[in-house]
Every structure is written in C-alpha cells, then in structure tokens.
C-alpha cells in the first residue's frame, strides 16, 4: 500500500534547514573493538540501574552489569568481554557526571544465549506479555534520542485504547543518517520488529513514516509491504521537526495529542526504526541492546560514516575511524545540529541514545551578534506547537513563570526552530528551557 503520492506534513510551523546528509551513502561498518568502554548506568529516562558487578569481575558480551530499579528504568549489559575496571562517576554527553562501569576489553566472548547469526527469524513465538518482558530484559530504550525505556511504552495504561503503531523513520535532524542506513540494510528485520510490536500492543495497523529525502528507503519498504496487511509506508515532506512524535502523529493520522498528554491518549504508540530493529534482535535473537548505529559526520570530516558501535565506546575512537578530527573543528555535538548536545570532552562514551557525532567547523560553532527583537514574528511562524516563543523568552527572562505557564510554555518540545529562524539571533530556546526548569522545580513548602 503506497501513501506517498501526496507528501504529508504537519500542520503548524516548522523550518527547512539544509539537510546535509553527507553520510547517506556510507554503509554501516562495525567499528573495531575499543580498548576500554565506559558504560553509564543512566542512559535512559527514569531511575538509574543498580550495579551488580564488582571491580575485577570477568564479564561476557551481553551479561547484565546493572539491573533496572522499578518499572521506568532499564537493564544495562556489558557491551564487550573483559574485566571490570573502576566504577566511578564519569561525565557523559549531558555534561553531568553519572556512575559508570569501566570494562577493559579482552577478546570478544559473547553470552551463549545470544544468537549471533544473520539468519532472519520471521516466526514470532512469544505472546504480548512475554514480548514486553523480553524487551525489558534486553534493556531496549528509544534510540531516536530521548532514550525512554521501550517496554514502558508497550504497557498501555488501563482504559486507553491504542489502534495505531507508528514507526518513526523520519530522521528529520540534518546530517544524521543512522536510521536511514538501518532502514536500507535491515528492512526485513525491521518488518519483523514491527510485527512483534503489533503483537505486543494488539494493534492491527501500523505506518512507517519516512522523510522523502530518503526515497530509496520509501521504495524499499513499498516493495516489501506489497503483500502485507495492515502495514503501510508514508513518504513525508522534508520539513523539520517532522520526526517530533506529536508532529508525526498529526501528519500521518491527523490526530493531535492534547497538551500534557501522551500519544496513547489519541490511540497511538510511536517507536523509532532503530528501536524497532533492537526489539527484533532482543525478541528473535535474544540479543540485548549492546551496540547501535552512530553517524559520524560534519562538513570537514574526511569520511562521513555510519558505524556499528558498542555502547560505552569513547567518542574519540569513532572520530579516528572517520579520518581524524579536522583542524577547523570548533564544536562537537552528540546528536543532530538542531537538538543535539555539545560535548566538551572526547572521552565521552556512546550511549544507547547517541544517534550521531557531528563536528562543526569553528566559524559555524559560535553564535552571531544578538540584536533587539524586531517583532518579525518568524518564531511564531516556525513554532510547530503554535506557541509564541518571543513572549516565552520575555516572560522567562523576567521570571514571570506563572504567566509563561498560561502561555503553554510546558508544551514546548525544544525543537529549536524558534532560535534557528530568529534573525536577531536571540537565545529564545535557552530562556524557554530556563522557564520550563523553573516550573518543574518542586515548590518550596
């Protein structure tokens, strides 16, 4: 079933940054094993996992090193085999220090339970509950960036009826191509992953949403889905933030998630294609989430690449494999240019939610001169949530957070479109983040 004849897109706002998919043609290549890995126990939204290994222990690839604490949490596995080194606070891509387990690599000795063959296993033997348990055990989290534990999304609260599964293959961030390559190289596995998710959720319909700058992926899935019932692929306009969960739901199904609500409130669950592939591996191959595809890219990068990387590998290893750090590098971003985080240190480990490493040249790495607000209204035109970013900046700056809340500051998805378009280079999103943080602080008694 083809839906791509008329390109769909979301209703409000959005911007069109240059898409710069430099690494789109680079096949996924496994990165050589690092010497050591540093695996943070907080790679997901929710409670940190509890460490169950000690310094000096030997571990195999896929062995649990930290178990989830509570439901909204995630297991962490050894991504390499070797000996546990120091367990201490280490800075991750957020810039904060979190507990992390260091492993010195020795060989590549996997847990016997993991099926490492390439054979496609299509038959789904587990039922809904077993699938959710399996995904939880494998430590799968959302791999598009937010890193929300996947099993939590699959456990729909009582009283809510979900009728659609959306697979997010939009990858609307400029530069990033990890999802694109996974779709091209692992399409059959993703299809099985979708069926697993549909079984787990008990839904009859699924749509894969892909931005039309990845037309090869759209065509591939169209061919693959010819004889499938209930699964469709939709080509979407290249329009940032098309891959925002709320925007994608609106574009594909014309449903809008109410303010403060979740996709399940409108009968939808969204999973990223990378996550879907990880779920396939977890359920069919019994393979925990110990590696992921990471794009290494940038205008001056010698070989823009897509690497299959073990979790915990230091960023520097990826940069060396992509031809070294260019002389003119001024900023290194973990993630895409619109929402990624700048990192200060090249030893930062790759986490489950790291979709790319972007090297920005010096001349583009600093912000330009700030002017007064011209009242041009471009931030309002750009806001995909229909907010008034200029007003939220003023209110947050003045500390008038209750008024900012009335102006729906908490609806902001932090896509960065307002700061991107502001001709005066005003730090709009910075202040909105400040305002949101102030509102989320627990009130003093």
């Amino acid at each position: 079933m083809a839906l791509h004849h008329k390109l769909k897109t979301f209703r409000l706002g959005g911007v069109h940054p240059d898409d710069q998919k430099l690494s789109a043609q680079a096949p996924i290549t496994p990165l050589p094993l690092p010497k050591t890995v540093t695996i943070p126990i907080t790679q997901h939204i929710g409670a940190p996992a509890k460490i169950v290994v000690q310094r000096g222990d030997s571990v195999k690839v896929g062995q649990v090193i930290a178990v989830h604490e509570g439901f909204v949490s995630s297991n962490i596995h050894a991504s390499v085999s070797g000996r546990i080194g120091v367990i201490e606070e280490t800075m991750d891509s957020s810039g904060f220090k979190h507990m992390a387990v260091n492993i010195r690599v020795k060989g590549d000795d996997w847990m016997e339970t993991v099926d490492r063959s390439d054979t496609l296993i299509e038959e789904i033997k587990l039922d809904s509950k077993e699938i959710v348990a399996c995904i939880m055990e494998a430590g799968v989290v959302g791999m598009g960036g937010a890193a929300f534990p996947a099993h939590v999304k699959l456990s729909v609260p009582e009283g809510k009826h979900v009728d659609y599964l959306i697979i997010n293959g939009v990858e609307c961030e400029p530069y990033l191509t990890a999802d694109h390559r996974i779709m091209l190289e692992k399409s059959r596995e993703i299809l099985v992953g979708i069926k697993i998710l549909m079984t787990a959720l008990g839904v009859k319909q699924a749509i894969i949403g892909i931005e039309d700058n990845k037309h090869d992926a759209v065509e591939l899935f169209e061919k693959l889905l010819q004889h499938e019932q209930g699964i469709a692929v939709a080509a979407l306009e290249v329009h940032y933030p098309q891959g925002g969960e709320k925007q994608l739901i609106q574009a594909l199904l014309n449903r809008e998630v109410p303010s403060g609500g979740l996709p399940s409130d409108v009968g939808v669950i969204v999973h990223n294609v990378g996550t879907t592939y990880a779920i396939y591996e977890a359920v069919q191959k019994n393979k925990p989430l110990i590696e992921r595809v990471v794009t290494v890219t940038g205008k001056s990068v010698k070989q823009p690449s897509n690497f299959l990387v073990r979790i915990g590998t230091p960023v520097i290893d990826l940069l060396i494999a992509a031809g070294g750090v260019p002389e003119d590098t001024g900023k290194i971003v973990s993630g895409g240019p619109m929402m990624g985080k700048a990192i200060a240190d090249l030893d930062v480990p790759i986490a489950k939610g790291t979709s790319g490493i972007l090297l920005i040249p010096k001349e583009e790495s600093t912000r330009a001169e700030v002017y007064n607000c011209l009242h041009c209204g471009k931030c309002i035109e750009a806001c995909p949530m229909g907010l008034e970013p200029y007003r939220l900046l003023i209110l947050s700056k003045k500390g008038n957070h209750s008024r900012a809340k009335e102006e729906h500051i908490l609806d902001c998805i932090e896509c960065g479109s307002c700061s991107f378009v502001c001709p005066s280079n005003r730090p709009i999103l910075d202040y909105i983040r400040l305002g949101k943080t102030q509102l989320r602080k627990p009130k003093k008694a």
């Binding site: 200060a344 912000r367 011209l374 041009c376």
Partner: protein, 331 residues
C-alpha cells in the same frame, strides 16, 4: 587535533541564513525600483532629498547612541538607512534641507531612539517624522513638483487626491475632475504628482514581490490593507459614483501602495501573528478610506498607520495563532 577548546553551547547549533543586516539589506534592495523611478521622474531633487534624509537619520542615530546613550554603535544594522529612505519616500522631492533635518531628528530622535532604539518603538519612525513635518510645514509638505520636471525649483502642483478633494469642495463634478487626471496607465506606472517614493505603484509592487520572494514579509498586511481599500471605496462608489471616486483610483493614487508595501509592513510596529496582521491591515484600510472620503485631509494613509500602530500591543495580546492540540481539546 584541536581538542582543548571546544565550544559548548545549547542547541540549536545551526542558524538560518536570514539575519537582521540581511533583512535590512533586502528591504533596501526592494526600495531601489521606487527610488530609481523617482529619480527618473523628478531628477536630482529626488536623489538630493533621499541622500540628505539617509545621511541625517544615520548621523543622528550615531550621535544619540554615542554621546547621549554612550552605548556601542547600532547603525550597522541598517535600520536607520531604511528610516531615512522611508522618510524621503514620504515627502516632496523639492523639500529644503533644514526641513529634512528636522524630520530626520524627529523620526530618529523621538520616533525611535527615545523608546530604546530598534525594536522598541511603538510608532513607525518615518511616519512620526513625516506627520510632524506635515503639521509643522503644511505648505512645503503639500506642494509637489510635477512629474517630469527635472530642476530643483520646478513648477509645483497638487496630487490627484488633492485635486479631487479641492475640486469636490469647490463643487465640480466627479467626471470633469477625473478627466483632469492622468490616465490610469500613467498613474499605475507613476507619472503623477506626489511624494518622492509613492507615485509608482508598479515600482512599489516590484519591491513587494522581491520582499515576498525573499520571505522578508508575508502577504497578510499588504493584501488585507489593499483589499479593504478596494472593497470599502467600491461600496461607496457603487452607492454614489458622482460623489465618490472608483476603487482603482483610490488604490493607485496617494500613499496607499507605499503604505501597504513598506510602511505598514514594518516589523517593529506591526503585529506578530498572521491573524493580527490581517486585523491590522483591515484597520489601516478602513481608517485610510474614512479619512480620504470624510476627513479634512485628502490623504490618510500616514494617520491610519500611526493610529493602528497604537493598537498593535492589544492585537498581539488577543490575535493568537492556533496551538497544537487546541482544537481537539475544545471538542
């Protein structure tokens, strides 16, 4: 390898190409056709007045920022150049230099800098200067050199709107008055009396198309304002064509086109949202027509825009765009 000094800043890490100086440059480029036509029509007088207004506006802003406010220079953003150009566009091309100086001082000093400079002024600075001059120097401000007269002390005459207003007062018939006017083709291309930059609807429309193409402005204000003028004057014309001129005449003469393209679309003094822009444009159109048809002045665009400028904060408060999820929630 450059590992030591990496920039660490919050996202987004990229920015669109359109920044303040580029927008200002774009607006200036959009004004070139109208200016070129004015020079063709009025000769060196147009160039002299425009040059003086720009130099005065930039110089006064520079002096105020440097000596009064003691802040870093702000003139490189290009906005003072635009104020100077727009002030010149709104005055006759034979205005003496000291009147231009006074107009520039009022526009920049009172209209813009007294409120805190670019982005903070509630009223369009060029129009503040223009209206101040109109009230202070009514004679030089309403005696326009005739089109095609190239020397500085050329024969002056009234605009089509002035001829109409005075003629109607004197009891002449609409038909005979319209017969005294240049043809509509001449009026459209700009062979008519008037302020420096307002005569040629054609040249102004070229500027509008350029600004729309560059996405500097949106269609909302110009279209809503022009449509309102057409519809309102059309209604009156249909009621009594002997007393009221037709809509085409009203749109092509006077400052309607200049106002719709360059004056009302000023970012700072117009509303933020598209809805707000539509309200703003309609308001200007209504007020312009009311002043033209029933007021004492032959022309009302400047006053209409300034009056609507005063409503902008209120419009901003109430004219909001739809939000994501809003429609569904109400249901």
């Amino acid at each position: 390898m450059s590992t030591g000094l990496l920039t660490v800043s919050p996202s987004p890490h990229i920015h669109s190409e359109l920044t303040v100086p580029q927008i200002m440059r774009g607006v200036i480029i959009a004004m070139v056709p109208a200016l070129a036509f004015s020079i063709y029509n009025f000769g060196l007088g147009a160039l002299y007045v425009t040059g003086l207004a720009v130099i005065f506006c930039v110089g006064i802003e520079y002096a105020i920022v440097k000596y009064l406010l003691k802040k870093p220079a702000s003139i490189h953003d290009g906005s003072a150049i635009i104020t100077g150009l727009l002030l010149a566009f709104n005055v006759p091309s034979n205005l003496p230099w000291y009147i231009i100086l006074i107009g520039s001082a009022v526009a920049i000093g009172i209209g813009k800098m007294s409120f805190g400079g670019l982005g903070n002024n509630p009223f369009n600075p060029a129009l503040v200067g223009r209206v101040f001059l109109l009230l202070s120097f009514p004679v030089p401000m309403t005696h326009w050199p005739q089109a095609g007269s190239w020397s500085l002390d050329a024969v002056t005459g009234a605009t089509p709107l002035g001829i109409l207003k005075d003629g109607m007062r004197a009891g002449e018939s609409m038909d005979s008055l319209l017969n005294q006017m240049p043809s509509y083709v001449d009026i459209f291309f700009g062979f008519q009396g008037g302020s420096l930059g307002e005569m040629s609807a054609f040249a102004l429309l070229l500027g509008l198309i350029y600004m729309l193409y560059r996405k500097i402005i949106t269609w909302h204000i110009p279209v809503s304002m022009l449509l309102t003028v057409v519809i309102m004057t059309g209604i009156f014309w249909l009621i009594d064509p002997a007393k009221f001129a037709n809509p085409l005449f009203h749109v092509l003469t006077g400052g309607v086109m200049l106002g719709a393209v360059f004056m009302a679309t000023d970012y700072v003094t117009s509303p933020f949202t598209h809805r707000g822009m539509l309200i703003f444009g309609v308001g200007i159109g209504v007020l312009t027509v009311l002043i033209r048809l029933f007021g004492n002045y032959p022309e009302g665009v400047s006053f209409a825009i300034l009056i609507m400028n005063a409503f902008v904060p209120m419009i901003n408060r109430y004219a909001k765009e739809p939000r994501y999820g809003e429609v569904k929630q109400k249901r």
